[in-house]
Symmetry: C2
Subunit: 400 residues, 2 copies
């Protein structure tokens, strides 16, 4: 987009004020008067900002509810038919795509089993792009950008630096490939467990601002949220729960170490130990109380409990949220897990540690990936305006 020429200072102030208004509306809808009160901006400033946001399809103005005396105020809210974020997940054995609107709601989701360990990288990208394009065509709203979830460590430059369970992603810069194929400028790449953790934070902000989200897939990862923010570590590699040691002389791991949690509780090991062909088979076997399957799940739960004990003794967090396959096996896996935690975690006797099931299911990472794009657009409104419907320049430049 291009703004009309004006002094940089005014533009900055307007961006700042837009971000204030959008942050308030993210918390809850409200009238112009409420917004002025909550942000401390003048009513005239709020009116100018809001009018342009409504004209650009970013805000939605509800018909006033007819209650009480006087002229009823119209409630403003983020517009679910406004710009959207697209999330793409490239995981070991599937591809997924999802779209999140400005209200944070998942508007569409696709999931495709994929043999990404043997597919050439070009095919992985092509399949992901085709799936995403179908989804975008169905929804037909302006695109803010794309978030990409990968089962890998990603450095600050968006390069995949380690992908033990999907080695052909190593060294890739998925943002470049996908930006070109989807004709978007803004593509962010992030570890899938980190994105699952953000999705959980945004879906249930009242449930807690300090927790570890555990993503159980072929690999085992964790997203660490401290005081409502993702804890990424110095290089972006924090939360590698799958490579916390359970037994130092245990089975060799793809990472080069031995006895890592992934070798006890990862999907491949779990399915194999249970004598099942795949995860669906394992779920069915657990459902019919197959002894071997239940024992395998219990063993995985105990190992997960040992690994999480080490993590919690280091991080001192009060809540564990189980996602991915652990959320699908929640009832069967938690007893052995919580038994280890209560024995081993030092704070467990002082603090009411909680193990919860993620309600987001298999789409957690794409929700987080798409949500990351929406989150950034709402905190940096120039991104939002750039993607929104074009409007009359005069109205865009009025007010402050």
């Amino acid at each position: 987009m291009s703004f009309p020429v004006q002094p940089a200072g005014q533009q900055t102030v307007r961006q700042h004020n837009l971000a204030l208004v959008l942050a308030e509306l993210r918390r809850s809808p409200g009238s112009r008067a409420h917004l002025a009160q909550r942000t401390g901006l003048t009513k005239a400033t709020v009116a100018s900002l809001v009018d342009s946001l409504v004209a650009q399809g970013i805000l939605d103005e509800a018909e006033p509810a007819s209650s009480g005396p006087g002229r009823p105020a119209r409630a403003l809210a983020l517009d679910p038919s406004g710009p959207i974020g697209l999330g793409i997940e490239i995981n070991v054995d599937y591809l997924a795509a999802g779209v999140v609107d400005l209200t944070g709601r998942l508007r569409g989701h696709r999931h495709l089993p994929a043999d990404n360990r043997s597919w050439p990288v070009a095919k992985i990208y092509a399949e992901a792009v085709a799936m995403a394009q179908e989804l975008l065509a169905d929804i037909g709203q302006p695109l803010l950008g794309v978030g990409v979830a990968v089962p890998a460590a990603v450095n600050g430059a968006g390069e995949v630096v380690r992908a033990p369970n999907l080695p052909r992603l190593a060294g890739q810069r998925p943002a470049e490939q996908l930006a070109a194929a989807l004709s978007v400028d803004d593509v962010l790449v992030e570890n899938e467990a980190n994105l699952g953790a953000l999705a959980r934070l945004w879906a249930a902000p009242a449930a807690g601002r300090d927790f570890v989200y555990v993503s159980g897939e072929i690999g085992v990862g964790a997203g660490v949220v401290v005081d409502g923010r993702l804890f990424r570590g110095v290089h972006g590699f924090a939360g590698e729960l799958g490579h916390v040691v359970i037994e130092r002389n245990g089975p060799p791991c793809g990472c080069g170490g031995r006895g890592c949690l992934e070798q006890y509780a990862g999907q491949d090991v779990l399915v194999r130990t249970a004598g099942q062909p795949d995860l669906a088979g394992l779920e069915a076997a657990v459902h019919r109380a197959d002894r071997r399957a239940l024992h395998a799940v219990e063993q995985a739960g105990a190992a997960l409990g040992v690994g999480l004990s080490s993590l919690l003794n280091v991080l001192d967090l009060p809540m564990v949220v189980l996602g991915g396959l652990y959320s699908r096996l929640f009832e069967a896996i938690t007893p052995a897990l919580t038994s280890e935690l209560s024995t081993r975690v030092l704070s467990s006797r002082q603090a009411s540690g909680q193990v919860r099931r993620s309600s987001l299911g298999i789409d957690a990472a794409v929700r987080g990936a798409a949500g990351l794009i929406v989150d950034r657009a709402l905190t940096e409104p120039d991104r939002l305006l750039a993607a929104a419907a074009p409007i009359d320049r005069v109205s865009a430049s009025s007010g402050s």
Copy 2:
């Protein structure tokens, strides 16, 4: 102290400006003109603040160096003969005390072997107080407050909630006991590894703002520093490296778990495995290349490497600083340790992980404890002024 009556707003502004000036002088000494330039305050404001700080013995004004033309500027610096912080350490088998002045320098240190596992708590406090009083009498400068280091988890209220290696401290509130005995208001209690980490940060700020400091004593603890700040966790219990699991079915631990690092690399286990009577004996044996001692230290180093690998895979930090007994055994213990790190830490191939020896030695925790008090006084200058030499009220209230 009592300030002259004046509007709260002015007092707040003055405190804020004092903190600005003190923060600049902490970085490096400078003239009034430099301070005005660096803080953005007017020269008149700086002069008013500085004059009162000099009068109260908080700043020291050096004789001007005679170089160059014009009237040479006098360099101002924090006064080493001004108010001091006292640190007290209550550890499993010793007591220690240390004094840190406003420049951050350790001005005195006492160390006393003590059988705190069998002494009654009252005797522990009495011995610590006597040692501290001797030290304070020797130095004879105004006391800001007392920091107390304990080998234990301390909650936000200063209560010792877990002390597996010194059970009689559990449930204690050392601040209350020591405040009364030493007639000071301000006593802070903190885990000894956390204080060692802060001491390291303050002693070598340029070496890195992201690291884990490992404190090897009877217990094994870690202080985690992220972006120049202590990472304490939600309840203050973060960094419990001693209870990271090495082998889930390993030897039972005092914490109730099994196979914790402390059972492989804690001082008691290490000394016993080496067939030595105590740590001094172990050091001597290592020095003369005693095979059994070297093997015991190597085994402890390998276990420490496994535990640190789990910690680093969770936290993604680029540096490990070894303190306590590990710093005394540094050359003998690091080869096995770094070998485990290079195999197991995922970021080790991308990032140049470093293992360093703490140069602070046995006084790290008391330095951190005393430094915590000095740090707080410099960032909250009303604490500093309250402890400083009383001055004429009129000059204290002038300026802003």
